[in-house]
Amino acid sequence: MKNTALTNTHIALGAKMVPFAGYNMPVTYSGLVAEHNQVRNSVGVFDVSHMGEFSIKGEKALELIQLVTTNDASKLANGKIQYTCITNNEGGIVDDLLVYRFTETEYFLVVNASNIEKDWNWIAQHNSFGAEMENVSEQFSLLAVQGPNGLNTIQKLTEVNLSNIPYYSFANGKVAGIEDVIISNTGYTGAGGFELYIKNADAQKMWDAIFDAGKEFGILPCGLGCRDTLRLEKAFCLYGHELNDTTSPIEAGLGWITKFSKHFVNDTYHKQLKENGVAQKLVGFEVLERGGIPRQNYLLKNSAGETIGKVTSGTQSPSLNKPIGLAYVQTKYADVGTEILLEVRDKLLKTKVVKTPFL
């Protein structure tokens, strides 16, 4: 199992460590709900150095990115970021990722840790353009400083004016005395804040500086546990849950990042789904009665007791204090307000399709 540059720091802080995507990662420190609330209300820090990073360069780098991803990367300007996904030939998704544009010929792809090898092989296989590819995943650490006080925390450490970096934009600058930090207004919590990409050798220094700067905001180290509940409250998709090798971005509600104005792998199939309608759709739901918490693979039923869907993610929402989830349901049950039933153990609980994000 791999460690991040900060694994020993997490252990020293008393984190509960779990294997995740081949890495030894912190799942909680002080407690999932406390960490969740700290991020929603103030600021918390996640070590997400397990994420993968690929550098794609060259005259035809954009052509390669355009072929393998669904969003239109030609719309990116320097310093801008795009959420997108890579489609396979079987109607599904290889991965969802972020594309950063440094210059017209230099890009940075940030992919899920669990898919690094699969993504790399897939992109390399489609690189008939001679784009220069480098897997720099092992060189970079990534700290996500998330929450409404994320900006105030990082601003103390840099002369770069963070208010000038809009959502899904980034700057390159000096933070905490460390040069060449990628300061990215992104995150997976919907709570605001920044993500900092640094070289592994600088990770501990950056971690310590962030905790000093965030002290007045009660900053806490946060684990993957609350990262999941935070993203779920915002209905952000998670690969392996809402997204997988057989589900189309159109079914997943990712039509907004699937652009048919350009060509990408298997676009004809997804275009047909968009035009002819999908058999199943990703929806958010809320469980209306006590009896249990929704979990991945639990079944959803109609009043006749027939299975009409399956849960992809579920939790007790710490912010809303009620059970929520995401699920694929047959399209006729996908309208907001539709009453369905969630099967938990031997019970059927009243459940309703609701608007997302939940919060």
Partner: protein, 126 residues
């Protein structure tokens, strides 16, 4: 972590407090800490007679679901009514207000298979 000496403990991390032939059962401080923030306690066995090690319910934390195993054979007489509205009592007061069920024991010899506080602490490695 705290492991009162007047209680008996099972390998599955339940504790048992004996009062005549009635046993009060909950989960240990170690178990609640491992589970994290508990959000639902589902007791499915009210009124049922169960044999030792059968499932009597489920405890749900934000991220995980775990079965609850009855450490002694008997009939489930009562469940803790407070846990419906305040499941977090299992975290904050595991041996007190966080108790789960009261069971009429059908075989007192089952108690011999349980651990005392010191043995349980060795079992969990604290």
């Amino acid at each position: 972590m705290n492991f009162p000496t007047e209680l008996k403990y099972s390998k599955e991390h339940e504790w048992v407090k004996v009062d005549g032939n009635v046993a009060t059962i909950g989960i240990s401080d170690f178990a609640q800490k491992e589970l994290g923030d508990i959000v639902y306690v589902d007791i499915e066995a009210m009124g049922k007679s169960l044999s030792k090690d059968a499932v009597f319910g489920t405890v749900e934390a934000v991220k995980t679901v775990s079965d609850l195993f009855i450490p002694i054979s008997g009939k489930v007489l009562e469940k803790n009514p407070m846990l419906d509205a305040q499941p977090e009592l299992v975290n904050t007061d595991p041996y007190g207000n966080g108790w789960m069920v009261k069971v009429e024991m059908s075989n007192l010899e089952d108690l011999n298979s349980l651990m005392d506080s010191a043995t349980y602490q060795t079992h969990i490695g604290v």
